[in-house]
Amino acid sequence: MSIAALLAAIQSWPISAAIRGETSGTEWLFPIIETLHVMSLTLVVGSIAMVDLRLLSLASRDSSISRLSDEVLPWTWTAWCAAAVFGTLMFMSKADTYAGNLQFRLKFLCMGLAALNMLIFRFGAYRQVARWDSGETPVSAKVAGALSLLLWIAVVFFGRWVGFTT
């Protein structure tokens, strides 16, 4: 099955038509899903920013990195899963439009880079976290924090821009 055929198939599913308002008799499903997506994504970005700002030694300096991570990151993952579910539902309603949209693609590129950055940090600098857990963070941790912050800001910008270009 080609990608175009797959996208067309996704778009023709009953649930996709319902979100578009064609079969559900209401125009409100998409705005409601979009609002839930915004609620989830703000929690993702807000909670990641707390950890990133701590890695940059710009906030929460009274908390160790590992304690802050334990406190915050479970919420980040929960919110990320919610954002992904609602985002997928929005995607399904106009799959071929979104798949071909430049801003949409750039958004996912940035999320991929954010994931890569996280993995490099988690299995690199973070393995020695005990050495700098409560004090000044090493350059590698600062770079990871700054990159994460910038990439998530880009994800929000491209995401908002999708709404203006589709």
């Binding site: 609620m39 703000t42 929690l43 334990d70 406190e71 479970p74």
Partner: protein, 166 residues
């Protein structure tokens, strides 16, 4: 009754400048969402702590001292970007009850947060110990979370309701 004012504002030179630059509103909205992330993310972390949900790393007063100032910074950015969006598209904002409801809810939640922060500053040890924490801590936590959720709903629904009233 706000319609004549909106029409007048839309014809001011500043509004015309903002309308002519097609990047202004999407950029402002993206920054607005990033600021929502800071404010809503901080509010949720604080409120979950007050409700005793999740990993309790820092004390209530420690968390408040870190997060409440970030909430005010975020709110300042929200007011500025909201102002830009209102000057650029005054009719869109002023005709829908969603906008006015949102403004009223912001005043309520901001007032509540000021009072909360004052109470914690005045008597940190009482608020830090779960046994002596006033019962209104949980009321504040639930109300503030619900208010921020309602504010996000109103904000997103301005876009979907204004054309009914214009």
């Amino acid at each position: 009754m706000f319609r004549p004012f909106a029409d007048w504002l839309a014809n001011t030179p500043l509004s015309k400048i903002l309308q002519d630059q097609s990047w202004v509103v999407p950029t402002s909205q993206s920054i607005h969402i990033l600021a929502v992330s800071i404010v809503f993310g901080s509010a949720c972390m604080l409120n979950l702590r007050l409700l005793g949900v999740g990993h309790s790393g820092r004390s209530v007063s420690q968390l408040s001292n870190t997060l409440v100032p970030w909430m005010w910074r975020g709110l300042a950015v929200l007011l500025f970007t909201g102002f830009i969006q209102t000057v650029a598209e005054p009719v869109r904002q002023f005709v829908t009850p969603m906008f006015w409801t949102k403004m009223m809810l912001i005043i309520v939640v901001a007032t509540m947060t000021v009072l909360y922060a004052k109470a914690v500053r005045r008597n940190a040890p009482v608020w830090d110990a779960a046994s002596s924490r006033p019962a209104r801590a949980k009321v504040f936590a639930i109300l503030s979370t619900l208010l921020w959720l309602a504010i996000i709903v109103c904000g997103r629904f301005i876009a979907y309701t204004w054309s009914f009233y214009a």
